[in-house]
Structure formats: C-alpha cells, structure tokens
Amino acid sequence: MKFTWWKIVCIVFLLFTFTAGFLVKVPHVGNLYQSIRNFFFHVPMWFGQIALLTLSLFYSIAYLRKQNIKYDIYASEFAKTGIIFGVLGLATGSIWATYTWGEPWSNDPKQIAAAIAVLIYLAYIVLRGSMNDIDKKARVSAVYNIFSYFIYIPLIMILPRLVQSLHPGGMEGAKGGGNPALSGGSLDATMRVVFWPAVIGWVILGIWISNLKIRIGLLDHKNLINA
C-alpha cells in the first residue's frame, strides 16, 4: 500500500472520533441535548468536501497548464468523491434538522446553498458524460470545474453568513455570527479535541478513496498516458 502512514493516521483518528465522539462530556446548548454530538460527524463531511473540491480545482488548473490526461482523471475523481461527501452532509444534516429544527428541510440558506453546490458538481459529471472526445472532455470540464469552484465557495461560505440562518454563523439580529467552526472560542474545549481529529480523518479518508479511483482510472487509461 502507498502512503501507509497517512492511512494509519486516518484509521486511528476516525476510530477515535467514533468512540470519543459518543463518550465525551458535551455542553448543553439550546435544544440540541445529546444530538450536539452530530457536530463530530456532520460537519467533517463539509470539511472533507471543501478539501476534495479544492484538490479537484488544482488538478483542473494543472490539466489546462500541462494538457496531461492524468490530471483530468485526478480532477474528476476528487470531484466525484466530493459529491459523495456533499450528499452525505445533506443527508446527515436533514436527519439532525428533523429533531432540532422540526423538519428535515426548512429552506435554510445554508441548506439551499449546499444543495445548489452539489447540483453544480453533478452538472460537472453530466458535462463529462456528454462528450466522447477525451481531450475535448478534459479541457471543457476543467474550465467548468474552475468556474464551479468559485461559485461553490461563495455559496457555502459567504452567502449564508449574510442572511439570517438556522445554522450557526448567520446574521443573528445585529451581530454577525462570524465563523463558528474555525474561531477557537465558540467551540467547547473537549469538543475541539474530538472535532479536529475527525476533520483530519475524514479528509484523509476522502483522499484515500479518490486515490484508489484515480489509480484504477490511470490503469484504464495507461495507453493514453504513456503515449
């Protein structure tokens, strides 16, 4: 196996998340009760998605610079795993919302934006499937991927913070919510100890899965790449 140490870190961190995440003492916040533990599982999905789609962006740029079909495989597989993470984030969020906000889908700005982001990336897959010419497919989809990333980031990071939102970080009355996941003070100290290993673990797991699919893709296209 390649990068064995990274994979061991991933396994250890996620096993830690899945044990400590259930057992640590959590603060009492609003009507969340024990469901605040979802923070260890739902939020890392989005961190994973951001990491994977950022990698996808870099490889799309690399493709346009070098015109090597290898980078196109990298970009598409990272984007596909990113979509999986996004779908999981939406699904877990809906389950959590049912029992805290009262309904699975309350048209919260962040819910809508995240759903649009997933649709934008699904369109990337559809676009790729619509072309048979491999070079044309790679070039057009690389350009589309770069565009969609710069729609994706404002959609999930900026727009939900400009309006009132059920998610933390929205405009709550006059005060802005800031960046609740990243700014140190707003997250309980014990929760932080579980949360960050969870984020790192899920990011590595996403890269691991993508890496496997990339290697299969490279094997499938080995004639094109070596030529």
């Binding site: 196996m1 390649k2 994979k7 096993l15 899945f18 899965i209 496997l212 094997l219």
Partner: protein, 77 residues
C-alpha cells in the same frame, strides 16, 4: 510453506475470536455480567458506539482490500 499455512489458518483464527463475544450458550456469571452492564449503562449509548465502530472497521478493511488489489494490478504492468 509457513506463509501458506498462516494464510490458511488466519481466517479460522480470526473468526474464532468472534466466539469470545457470543453469549448465547453461557450463563451469566460475575465476569460477563459486568460486561453486560457496561454496554447497558448510560442509556445504552455504548451499543450505538459499538454498531458505528463495527461499520467503520469493516469499511476500513474493505478499503485496505481494494487498495491491495489496485497495488497488485499496478505491479503487474
């Protein structure tokens, strides 16, 4: 030769370990009772944890297997 033997027997050994966590045929003596209460304590949250950890471990084993298979194919080139 030894490698072959280990390969053949490892599955049996691993699976036999699972018999340690089966309670179907045993009467509850003090030792098992304590294990039982641990799992049932704190509103049975440990049960949920055990289920999730099981899923995670099997997922990892599956990933490692796929990884090994891909590595094998890469070496075969």
């Amino acid at each position: 030769m030894l490698k072959e033997f280990i390969k053949r027997i490892s599955g049996t050994v691993t699976l036999s370990l699972f018999s340690l966590i089966l309670f179907a045929q045993t009467t509850a003596d003090s030792n098992e009772a304590s294990m039982d209460t641990t799992m049932r304590s704190h509103d049975k949250i440990y049960v949920v944890m055990a289920v999730c950890v099981t899923i995670l471990i099997v997922l990892f084993l599956y990933l490692v297997r796929i990884d090994r298979k891909v590595s094998k194919k890469e070496r075969a080139l």
